[in-house]
């Protein structure tokens, strides 16, 4: 038997009115895996997670958790999920202990089970000193911990965390990431973020979502090397292919050149260059100096790279 898929999205599509927020999203998350859901603001992360938790139904497509369909067998599916919504909703007039007990009971635990489990959860989330504190009196970072604690209280198979480190100070960010890492072992985790390094720190695999579509899927390491520091230029040139290739490859800063035919004696050359160097002037001068005809040259606006850039700059702004 294949390794069991704990979360599965099949062609998930969600319209808010006529606005398409998520479009044909497909992925499978295996048992024990930590998946990072990376995307800029408004990409559709929260929408996808709300579908996966059964809060909103997809317009079309299916979402399965632990093999249960979130529309057809919603209650069964939901019983396997621990969820931390983006807004970290808490009852401020309850104490930490009351709140966690209530959430545990709501997820089907018996009061004895809650009592046994509370100690572990309080310790894991380092809430020992705030056991009997009213949630309304806690700082943002501690509320975040309570939010995570309520997500794990019932030992769910699947943990769905929507931007678990947003809005807390850098020290608490580090602690929260460590907490998620510690928890990861037994659970299947999907966490959303718009912070690239967070994904590399925590996740086995990353999905990049942009404007409602999955634009990339990879391990964080591979994604990094594939994307970091590369600019792509496309040039259409009339002239002898092998000679042109040879000359282009000699230009300083160019990593790789590939070509595809584009008519009689014409080829389109895709040039990969180190990021930050705009090599278009050098390339065009080289081609003209060799008496070949430059028909067109452009910087490829690769959506993925742009997103990547956006994600990295957002992190720079934060720190």
């Amino acid at each position: 038997m294949a390794i069991r898929a704990m979360i599965e999205a099949r062609n998930l599509t969600k319209y808010y009115g006529s606005f398409l927020a998520v479009e044909k999203v497909n992925f499978v998350i295996k048992k024990g895996e930590i998946l990072g859901f990376l995307g800029p603001n408004g990409a559709g992360k929260t929408t996808t997670m709300r579908i996966l938790t059964g809060f909103i139904p997809p317009t079309s497509g299916e979402a399965l958790v632990a093999g249960y369909d979130l529309v057809g067998q919603s209650i069964e599916a939901r019983a396997h999920i621990g969820y931390l919504p983006e807004t970290v909703p808490l009852y401020t007039e309850m104490t930490v202990k009351e709140y966690l007990s209530f959430m545990g009971r709501l997820r089907g635990m018996k009061s004895g089970q809650v009592r046994e489990r509370l100690g572990y959860v309080i310790e894991a989330c380092r809430l020992e000193d705030y056991y009997d504190t009213f949630i309304g009196k806690l700082s943002k970072g501690f509320r975040q911990r309570v939010g995570i604690a309520q997500a794990i209280i019932h030992e769910p198979d699947v943990l769905i965390l929507d931007e678990p480190t947003v809005g807390i100070d850098p020290i608490q960010v580090v602690e929260t990431r460590q907490l998620i890492k510690d928890l990861a072992g037994g659970h299947t985790v999907i966490l959303s973020t718009h912070i690239l390094p967070e994904v590399s720190m925590l996740c086995d695999r990353v999905l990049i979502i942009h404007e409602g579509k999955i634009v990339a899927e990879d391990t964080p390491d591979d994604l990094g090397t594939k994307l970091a520091g590369v600019d792509r230029v496309e040039a259409e040139v009339e002239g002898p292919r092998s000679q042109i290739l040879e000359v282009l490859k000699k230009i300083r800063g160019i990593i790789d050149v590939t070509s595809r035919p584009a008519g009689k004696n014409r080829n389109v050359y895709r040039i990969q260059a180190k990021q930050g160097l705009d090599l278009r002037p050098t390339i065009s001068r080289t081609i003209v100096n060799n008496n070949w005809a430059l028909l067109n040259i452009q910087l490829l606006s690769m959506s993925l790279e742009e997103i990547f850039l956006k994600l990295t700059t957002e992190e720079d702004l934060r720190t």
């Binding site: 059964g54 807004t87 808490l90 007039e93």
Partner: protein, 243 residues
Amino acid sequence: MRNTWLIAWKEIRVFFTSPMAYVVGFIFVGLTGYFFVRSVDSALSGPNFPEASLRHLFSQMSIFIIPWLAPVLTMRLLAEEQKIGTLELLLTAPVRDWEVVMGKFVASMTFFLGGLALTLWYVLMLSWRGNPDPGTLASGYLGIILYGSTAMAIGLLASSFTSNQIVSAVVSLGILVLLTFLEVGADQVGGVASTVVAQLGITTHFGDFVRGVIDSSNVVYYLSVTGVFLFLTVRNLETRRWR
């Protein structure tokens, strides 16, 4: 069912640790006390000899207390969950939408019955000085409980529509006042329409209970209106998901 109690219990605990419970309780006791004293005070009751019953109290309660009490007791129940976002946790827990709504309803009825329990003091006073008819008292209490449950269901529906407690209270107050005046308003239209309008009025079905008559059609009216509003509340929660 277990989830219903769980949610109700949470609401009850939160409510009784809030100042709201005591402010509302205070006003409730003050008003019912005033109505009670007036109804037994011979100097105030005119030529008629004061009677040992809670007739007046029940009637006054139905018109002057429940229309504001129900909105106040129910306004936060669903609106607050939407405002602070905890509805997302409730609706993603393995709990059915109707269990959530029933939990809230049970909580609101508990608040109401708690207040009503305080009026048993008046019964005690009546039995001390007079000889109240237990049957009439019982049917009066049954009537006011049914009346209250209808009002709570209306309040709950209003609370499910908004994340603003004030809006919720104003909307349910509006509906309750409208339903209260249907009986009076019915006189303005003539004929069959008058009867139909009057039958819809929330007060129309109350008189019999106060007089000690338990007519099953009145019971059915209150239960079905309560049921309809609770059902609409559940449906409204469901459609919120689809938006």
